[in-house]
């Protein structure tokens, strides 16, 4: 970043929003991090007040401030709960951008975010991770629980999904065509879910285009304030899907990024904005597309003798505001026993890099999720977010639980057997 930019970086554009907070504290129960740590700096109100302190020049950006701002899950629960209409998660994003511009990202984050943004480096990183998992960590006794993350159980595909399939995946009978935005996790660690999405769409006479040149949606970069890098990827993706009328995502975070956050990123580029708006309109989460656009026929499903429950990812439920469709789809499967999960829409503890930087809090949040899952008596947990699949499955496995966590598409693909 050029020096001039660094100097001009400020929080002035959010001052008005910072003053909206009248400190009632009603966001405290909505903040899982606060409820776990019970420390005001790690609450939505605390973060907003600290950001206000920095914006007014009354507080330095120091370790305590960075921790407060970085400890946000971006789960958006506080934004829903706030009576005054403050959007703390957006203020946290503004503060992270400010830190990125004024002091740059710490080296580890810079490497991770840069790697995810670049398809070649991303591929290399996942294969290295796979190598290390198989050749190193699996050989060390007891080395499976790395800071609450089930490293040994973490699936990493040898070849990424995008490289496993052709660009055009034709249905036997073709009645329509959609693009598929694959996303990092489905590409490298849940290829089976990628295949499931293609299968369900093909079964319903929809051709699926998987553009080879698609890149990371930009969620991780956006989350830590590197808006420029996120924009760079956004531009590529927007152009890549130009000729398609519908783009399917299989990840709540990717979906919310493509559909909502791109609009924020380009709000100050009026020339490009119409193209972004057009792109946003084409984004469908897998669940809404199969429910509303192709109208699944439950008659075609096999009988499914399982008790299932559903976990809403944060970006699925509060980002994309999708809660009804996945449940309705599940309930439509013959003989399935659906049971509602307590606190179904509360964070599972993953929240991107949060789980490794604040692992003690993340582990406690996941423990509660596992407890709630256990209480349902369900043997299958369904969700629409790959990151949640990994986090919840890992947390279940580390505590010796047998329940399986699957993506909604995995379950539907199986129902079509």
């Amino acid at each position: 970043m050029a020096k001039a930019d660094r100097k001009s970086a400020s929080l002035d554009d959010v001052i008005k929003d910072l003053y909206l907070c009248n400190k009632c504290g009603f966001c405290q129960p909505a903040c899982k991090v606060y409820k776990t740590d019970l420390n005001e700096s790690f609450s939505a109100r605390g973060r907003v007040q600290l950001i206000k302190g920095v914006a007014e020049g009354k507080l330095p950006v120091d370790e305590g401030f960075r921790d407060a701002v970085n400890s946000c899950l971006l789960c958006q629960e506080c934004t829903v709960a706030c009576p005054s209409g403050v959007k703390p998660h957006e203020l946290v994003l503004a503060a992270r951008r400010y830190m990125q511009q004024t002091e740059g990202l710490p080296l580890d984050k810079k490497i991770i975010l840069g790697t995810l943004a670049d398809p070649f480096r991303r591929k290399l990183a996942f294969s290295t991770a796979r190598f290390l998992r198989d050749k190193v960590s699996n050989k060390i006794q007891g080395f499976n629980d790395l800071k609450g993350i089930d490293v040994r159980g973490l699936p990493i595909d040898k070849t990424g999904f995008i490289d496993q399939v052709p660009e055009l995946n034709k249905a036997p009978v073709s009645k329509g065509k959609v693009g598929f935005f694959v996303g990092c996790f489905i590409n490298h660690s849940l290829a089976k879910t990628g295949h499931a999405i293609v299968k369900v769409l093909n079964k319903n006479d929809i051709d699926v285009v998987v553009p080879k040149k698609q890149v990371c949606c930009g969620t991780p970069q956006n989350a830590y304030g590197d808006f420029e890098l996120a924009k760079k990827n956004a531009r590529k993706n927007i152009r890549l899907y130009k000729d398609l009328d519908a783009v399917i995502t299989g990840c709540g975070s990717c979906g919310a990024m493509l559909k909502n956050e791109y609009l924020h990123l380009f709000a100050d580029e009026p020339d490009f904005l119409p193209e972004v708006e057009n792109f946003a309109k084409k984004i469908f989460d897998f669940s809404t597309y199969v429910m509303h656009e192709i109208k699944l026929d439950p008659q075609k499903f096999k009988v499914f003798h399982h008790k299932v429950t559903y976990h809403d990812g944060c970006h699925m439920s509060r980002g994309l505001k999708i809660t009804k469709e996945p449940r309705d789809i599940l309930k439509s499967i013959p003989r399935i026993e659906y049971v509602e999960l307590r606190e179904a829409d509360r964070c599972c503890g993953a929240a991107g890099l949060f789980q490794s930087y604040f692992y003690e809090i993340a582990t406690e949040i996941s423990r509660q999720k596992v407890q709630n899952i256990d209480n349902t008596g369900a043997d299958i947990v369904v969700t629409g977010c790959p990151a949640c699949v990994h986090r919840i499955q890992g947390s279940l496995r580390l505590t010796g639980k047998e329940q399986k966590v699957v993506h909604l598409a995995d379950l539907l693909a199986e129902a079509y057997q």
């Binding site: 009632c24 420390n39 507080l59 921790d67 005054s84 209409g85």
Partner: protein
Amino acid sequence: MLTQAMIKELTAIVGSQNIITNQAGLAAYGYDATLMAQRPVGIVFPRSTEDTSALVKYANQVGLVMVPRGAGTNLSGGSLPLENSLVVCLSRMTRILEIDPKNFTATVEAGLVNFDLQEALEKYGYYYPPDPASYKASTLGGNIAECSGGPRCFKYGVTRDYILGLEVVLPSGKIIEVGGKNFKSEFRYDMTRLLVGSEGTLGLVTKAILRILPKPFAKRTMLAIYNKVEDASRTVADIVAAGIIPTTLEMMDNLLINTADEHVKLGLPRDAGALLIIEVDGYEVDLDKQVRLIEELCEKADVRSFKVATSQAEADQLWLARRTVIGSVGRRRPSYSLQDVTIPRSTFPQMVDAILACSRRYDLPIGILAHAGDGNFHPLVLFDERDASEVERVHKAEVDLIRDALALGGTMSGEHGIGVLKKEYLAWEFSETAIEAFRKIKRSFDPTAILNRGKIVDLAAEG
């Protein structure tokens, strides 16, 4: 500032995970839900009564003033660190020690959030009646310190009516237990009642034995909408005069209907002058008759519409709107001044008139929110803290509202406490002899004013 030696000693007591001394942390504990702010010198989180006692003893040794704190949702500045204070935050003492439905009691640590207790009691079919609007965030220790009320007070009373016993760390660091699980006991000096509502000036409550009740068999939630706030206020007086005691009788005026609806999106009529949320509970067979009586009284006062909630979800949404309404005014102006003046119920309409007049006098928007059944008003004066001339007018309006309430035979504080905000008006309500008695009580517990100094009353020795 804490010296390195002090930090070392405090850390030895609570552990390194339970002490904060960095700038951001100090800033985060320098405010509550009022507009005031002042950074403390440190924050400690005791995890037990013994920790708390050791902390207080150490603070006495080195002369550190302490401020007790729970969730920091205080509305009178009672939990604000005023001067070089150490915040003793009880938020991490959250255990439920016992739920004893057979004896109608629950024993809890002070940092437990009111709502978290309600959730635990739900499994037993019980509940704890005091329910301040902040109950999802505020701690029971904080509720006890402020003697919090809530919408259900009209029928069920306030916090003091539900505290059977307390464990308290005195300003000396010694631990005492007052009251107990017995429903009745012939108290000599009723220490429990003296401590409830003492705003953390007499001791640090670490545990409490609460009275709990079985959940009512049935409930009806009614929504009455009026064209004019005066009509709603007439209904309130009529219901009280008719000898009906609803569980709750809440009023919101036009301004608040609008901000609440912007948050909760209930589809309330934006042009209505006021609404009443009325709830009755008890045995199923009694309720329809009560609802009919209330409906008749509403109609007598020219109600625009009267509706009984048809589902629990509908009632819950209405309550969500009511409970979050104070925060929702942020949608109009960034700052608010909130009073909790309380007047004899029969003078309800006069107080409404006084608030309307005050709003006109100072050209300030004032939202009228009231636990109408209790005569407890929450006038919300809206402004922008960055506008100096507005701030001055707000201050004048506050003074007038308190004077108006006192003139009607009321009190300046129904449930938020005196704290710092209302300290300067104390002499209007209490005689010099009474205030001196307050000081003597404070001195007998805390001669050096080491605990929550400068709240409610100042001791001469404090300078």
